[in-house]
């Protein structure tokens, strides 16, 4: 007991991504949790641990979601923790869940993310409202000038192009590869729009130079959940267990003025090095990756900082479909934030796709013989990083 590798992801579920305003957050949360239990062959009543948020409520119900969940399940929740780091929260949740089940603190832990209903701010399906709310996240020293989440990443992309000669066409390759994956996933938000080309991306409307509309993630609602238990328990359940072989975090900066480089993020490197070190595997062993892709540049930076290529070589790595289903490292194979879903703690969808790949359940998106996966979650504009190595056990 006590090693993360003794924990496994055993159940996953996700809704159709898009506009869930006709539903409520709690109803969608429960839909996902019930779905993940059914997938695993567990009962909802087996849950005794909770990570991050539960069904939403007012006041104490939001501050302390575990007591409310315990009341509904009819037995105590034995472990609750939060690691709220934006899109990385769900990746970070796998560590907390694995910790709980490998230390006897809980047996079956649920991690869910649900954005639905008449959500305001970031959760709104109203694009203007979501963009305006997110713009103020950077704080008054930046937002007074009309910064946006896109401009935060655009400045990183501009600097990367300056230092390394990365091109808009190379970034576009990432969007093209991911859109194709989304067309092969019926739950994706953008798959129905069909395949796109590099030319489509670079000729789409410029949002913040050098990032075009098709370099940017979707704004949508959606939900997903996964369950973690011990590998021993997992062996008696329905699905091929997906082990948590390694994990690491690297929190980097909050103020982009205060770090030396905006093209190289030590926190991302530390998170990946920790995860790879724990798992005892190398970059070359990875069959499939999931890397936070709020914008195309995020994938390129993530690949470099995780050590899949040298700093500055991300452009040539992703060129010619490097991250596509048949590329050197298939990445975000269901479409990622760009084309699958960018709802709430959206790293959960990145993780669920890796579980599908490792189970061999990815259908037409299946990466042949995928047995080892790298997961990266990013909060903010490369500010907080979580990394995990997942594998068949």
């Amino acid at each position: 007991m006590g090693k993360l590798a003794d924990a496994a992801i055993v159940g996953v579920y996700q809704t159709k991504q898009g506009d869930l305003t006709a539903k409520t957050q709690p109803s969608v949360w429960w839909e996902c949790v019930r779905g993940a239990c059914a997938d695993a062959g567990l009962s909802v009543g087996d849950i005794d641990g909770l990570i991050n948020d539960g069904p939403s409520g007012v006041g104490l119900r939001d501050m302390m979601p575990a007591p409310g969940l315990a009341e509904l399940l009819g037995h105590p929740i034995r472990f609750h923790a939060r690691n709220i780091v934006g899109a990385a929260s769900s990746a970070a949740g796998v560590n907390l869940a694995a910790y709980a089940v490998t230390h006897g603190l809980a047996e079956v832990v649920v991690v869910a993310n649900a954005v639905a209903g008449q959500a305001r701010g970031y959760g709104s399906v109203n694009r203007d409202e979501a963009v305006a709310t997110m713009a103020k996240l950077s704080g008054p020293y930046e937002y007074v000038y009309g910064t946006t989440r896109v401009s935060d990443y655009a400045t990183l992309a501009m600097r990367h192009m300056h230092e390394y000669g990365t091109t808009p066409e190379q970034l576009a390759e990432i969007a093209v590869a991911q859109r194709h994956g989304a067309t092969l996933h019926p739950l994706s938000v953008n798959g129905h729009r069909g395949d796109i080309t590099v030319e489509d991306v670079v000729s789409s409307r410029m949002i913040a130079d050098p990032l075009h509309l098709l370099d940017c993630c979707a704004i949508n609602q959606g939900a997903g959940a996964y369950l973690v238990t011990t590998v021993d328990h997992a062996r008696s359940l329905r699905q091929t267990p997906v082990g948590v072989l390694g994990y690491g975090e690297g929190h980097n900066h909050i103020d982009p003025n205060a770090i030396e480089s905006l093209t190289e993020f030590q926190g991302a490197k530390v998170s990946a090095d920790t995860a790879f070190g724990m798992a005892g595997v190398s970059r070359d062993d990875i069959d499939v990756a999931g890397i936070s892709d709020h914008f195309t540049i995020g994938v390129l930076l993530g690949l470099e900082d995780a050590g899949f290529c040298k700093k500055g070589e991300g452009g040539s790595f992703v060129d010619q479909g490097g991250t596509s289903l048949t590329g050197r490292l298939p990445t975000n194979t269901s479409g990622g934030f760009l084309s699958f879903s960018h709802a709430g703690m959206c790293g959960i969808f990145t993780l669920i796709e890796l579980v599908d790949q490792l189970r061999g359940n990815a259908g037409e998106r299946q990466v042949k013989d995928a047995s080892l996966a790298f997961l990266n979650g990013v909060g903010g504009a490369q500010q907080a990083h979580a990394a995990a190595i997942l594998g068949r056990v």
Binding site: D128, A135, V144, Y145, T155, L156, I207, P210, N257, A258
Partner: protein, 147 residues
């Protein structure tokens, strides 16, 4: 919602939640002579305002005038702004600038020619009283700094 006659005309975001300890920065903008914290112990400039030096962990920080000159480290041209008030000004340039003192600051770069902005371009600080209460600093293109 609290509004006053002096701020209803200004529809862009104003600073909110600034702690008293950071007000010397905003007061220096109002005086049109920006001051930034400098560490008494190691000499590092710190921006945005901090409570501790990130280089040597000293808490002895002094508000210090700066030259106001620097060069563009990176930038973007915003075409899709966060709100209608900002959209009226789009396209506009946001720049991260390496100041002559060696630290970076972010601000809008006022220019009639956004497409001409380049990394490495010399810029200098300028000020605008956006409301009677608040003055913001901006960048504008400058002749190459001497020395």
């Amino acid at each position: 919602m609290t509004t006053t006659t002096t701020t209803t005309e200004y529809r862009k975001f104003l600073p909110e939640g600034i702690p008293d300890s950071q007000m010397p920065f905003w007061e220096s903008l109002k005086a049109k002579a920006v001051k930034v914290q400098r560490c008494d112990d190691c000499g590092a400039y710190l921006y945005i305002p901090k409570d501790i030096c990130s280089k040597c962990y000293s808490t002895q920080l002094t508000w210090t005038p700066i030259s106001g000159h620097g060069e563009v480290y990176t930038y973007t041209i915003v075409r899709r702004a966060p709100t209608p008030a900002y959209q009226e000004e789009a396209p506009y340039v946001l720049a991260h600038v390496t100041m002559d003192e060696g630290f970076r600051m972010i601000a809008k770069l006022n220019t009639a020619a956004p497409e001409d902005v380049r990394i490495g371009m010399p810029v200098r600080i300028t000020y605008e009283d956006v409301t009677p209460e608040w003055t913001l600093m901006f960048f504008e293109p400058a002749p190459a700094a001497t020395g």
